[in-house]
């Protein structure tokens, strides 16, 4: 057998290799005297790239829930927020406001994933049997409730200030440009590994069952599949991924506050998913890249347009809306989505 035979063929395996390579190179920079230099013009791109990697984990989880299983989750940000707060509270050394327990950060990160998963499980237990639109209301309401809790329980969550003093493991190892590069490599690597995992899951018979539930739950049950179990699993996996994204965000940002976890996050990842094409993992990432890229481009455009920042922000929203309208009109399944796979009329 030649080496070529051993090379992975599927998208999933390529993502896994790329992800591991990113993590490896990231580790190389972090633990050796090797340093990176960035032209200052690239800073903004790297920063948006880091945020894209984090939001990428969110959109992959959402795609597992909505794209494959058909669960309408309009409150995805809540799992992101809960993961971030859990990680921040457990690992913050000393915070100006709110709780700071000072445990080592890996414990905080693990707790972020677990707490988000537990919240997902609790929501599933009460609401996963609900029909699509009702589940949407429940998740939306949950997100709003938690947002209000984070703002108002100042003793615990630090109110509008949030929690500061969260350790930044990468910043502790390297500084400056290298820190940015390592962060991008590590978070991008985690997102690629996530992509590999969800791709494997949905390419396996497991994914076939999820898509059958999306198509017709009663038929799927009549064929001997315990659909409640599958729906709960898909929901909890998506929640846990969002918790992981939240924990990593807290450890990258060094602080959490309610302002980072508004409904805007949910809206961004939903638009990204629908734009790219639900039920196609790479497409939802591409859709998210388009929507986040648009923001980045508009940041530069602001400098050359003769309008004020406020006006420009409104124009940007209008443009995003128009793009969404155009996609729904001409490509209802998303740019790379399969209309027959999603059962949308064209």
């Amino acid at each position: 057998m030649s080496v070529l035979d051993k090379l992975p063929d599927g998208h999933g395996d390529r993502a896994l290799l790329a992800g591991l390579a990113c993590l490896l190179v990231g580790a190389l920079f972090a633990f050796t005297p090797l340093r990176a230099q960035l032209p200052s013009a690239l800073y903004v791109f790297v920063e948006v790239g880091i945020l894209f990697a984090i939001y990428g984990m969110l959109v992959l989880g959402l795609d597992l829930q909505y794209g494959h299983t058909g669960l309408v989750n309009f409150g995805h940000v809540v799992f992101f927020a809960v993961g971030a707060y859990a990680t921040a509270i457990l690992s913050a050394q000393d915070s100006f406001s709110g709780l700071a327990l000072g445990y080592p950060w890996p414990i905080g990160l693990a707790a972020g994933v677990v707490v988000a998963a537990v919240l997902g499980l609790a929501l599933s237990a009460t609401s996963i049997r609900l029909r699509g639109d009702f589940l949407a209301i429940v998740t939306l309401a949950t997100a709003e409730i938690f947002h209000s809790v984070f703002v108002n329980f100042e003793e615990t969550f630090g109110g509008n200030v949030g929690i500061l003093g969260v350790p930044r493991p990468i910043a502790a190892l390297v500084e400056g440009d290298t820190r940015l590069v390592v962060t991008l490599l590590v978070l991008g690597g985690v997102t690629l590994v996530t992509l590999a995992a969800v791709t494997r899951l949905t390419e396996a018979p497991y994914g076939r069952t999820l898509r059958a539930i999306r198509a017709d739950e009663l038929v799927t049950r009549s064929l001997g599949k315990s659909t409640i179990t599958y729906k709960t699993q898909a929901f909890v996996y998506g929640a846990a991924l969002a918790g992981l994204a939240g924990g990593l965000f807290a450890l990258y940002n060094g602080a959490v506050a309610p302002g980072f976890f508004t409904i805007q996050v949910t809206v961004t990842i939903w638009i990204g998913m629908l734009l790219g094409g639900a039920a196609n993992h790479r497409a939802v990432l591409a859709g998210l890249a388009i929507i986040m890229g648009l923001r980045l481009v508009s940041r530069f455009a602001l400098d050359v347009t003769p309008v004020s920042g406020d006006v420009f922000a409104s124009i940007r929203l209008i443009v995003v809306g128009l793009i969404l309208v155009a996609v729904i009109r001409y490509r209802p399944a998303g740019i790379w989505g399969d209309a027959r796979e999603l059962g949308v009329d064209r």
């Binding site: 995992a197 494997r200 899951l201 396996a204 018979p205 497991y206 994914g207 076939r208 069952t209 898509r211 059958a212 999306r214 198509a215 017709d216 009663l218 038929v219 799927t220 049950r221 009549s222 064929l223 001997g224 599949k225 315990s226 659909t227 699993q233 996996y237 027959r340 796979e341 999603l342 059962g343």
Partner: protein, 254 residues
């Protein structure tokens, strides 16, 4: 020996008694037809037996076990598989995937083997593919195997539903109007396949309006009216029974 039986089955919707104290049984290896005018409670009876809805009273016994109120998925594992009156294809999936989906005990339907791409999953899936392709070929759907099932005709959908149900290798197959909306040629073909399955030992219960095909096909006919058993027995005897004629034609037979 009776494979499936109901005893005193009752289901009410608001004030309407859709199934009223219905007791009947189906023997192992039998081919039974269930008929009755619209609203006689045939589909409700099917739904109660197959776990889609819970009966208000009475028991359902499958192979000596009380399965009253069991979920459809649990009944499917216990060997009772049903089809639906309005064919319910998984339209966003291909014909192939529709049939493959039904395969029982696939380890790849659990998270860890799916993530690890375990060899047990791959080996099992090979068997599933082979079996699914055999069924698709046997039902002459092979030229449509990679089509989305939304593009199938009514008759082809019925065939697909049958092939999919057989993937589970059921002990008892419950078919809700397998001939509805199917052209006469295909009706004959589906009937032949059902007879063939029954000859090979599968117990089959069919709801059908197409009386001619049904009476030729089945060993025994059961006629329901207003949720109760009206007449049952040999198809010819049942069809010439005055009460049946009256129920179907309405009013007096005189």
């Amino acid at each position: 020996m009776s494979l499936l039986s109901t005893d005193g089955l009752v289901k009410e919707f608001g004030g309407l008694r859709a199934v009223d104290n219905l007791s009947m049984s189906v023997d192992d290896g039998e081919l039974v037809g269930v008929m009755g005018p619209n609203g006689a409670g045939k589909s409700t009876f099917f739904n109660c037996v197959s776990g889609v809805i819970k009966p208000d009273a009475g028991t359902v016994t499958l192979d000596g076990t009380d399965v009253t109120g069991d979920s459809p998925e649990s009944l499917a594992h216990q060997g009772l598989v049903r089809t639906f009156q309005n064919t319910r294809e998984l339209e966003t999936m291909t014909v192939r995937d529709n049939v493959r989906l039904a395969a029982p005990n696939q380890p790849g339907e659990r998270t860890i083997p799916a993530l690890l791409r375990s060899s047990a999953m791959q080996k099992h899936e090979e068997g599933v593919r082979k079996r699914a392709d055999e069924l698709i070929e046997a039902f002459e759907l092979d030229h449509l195997a990679d089509e989305y099932s939304s593009s199938l005709s009514g008759g082809q959908r019925k065939l697909l539903e049958l092939a999919r149900a057989l993937m589970l290798d059921p002990d008892i197959l419950m078919l809700d109007e397998p001939f509805a909306g199917v052209n006469p040629t295909l009706t004959g073909e589906i009937a032949d396949r059902i007879a063939d399955l029954n000859d090979r030992g599968m117990t089959v219960v069919i709801i059908e309006h197409e009386i001619e095909t049904l009476s030729e096909l089945v060993d025994r006919l059961v006629v329901l009216q207003q949720g109760s058993l009206l007449v049952e027995g040999d198809p010819e005897a049942v069809l010439s029974d005055e009460r049946v004629i009256e129920a179907y034609l309405g009013g007096d037979a005189e």
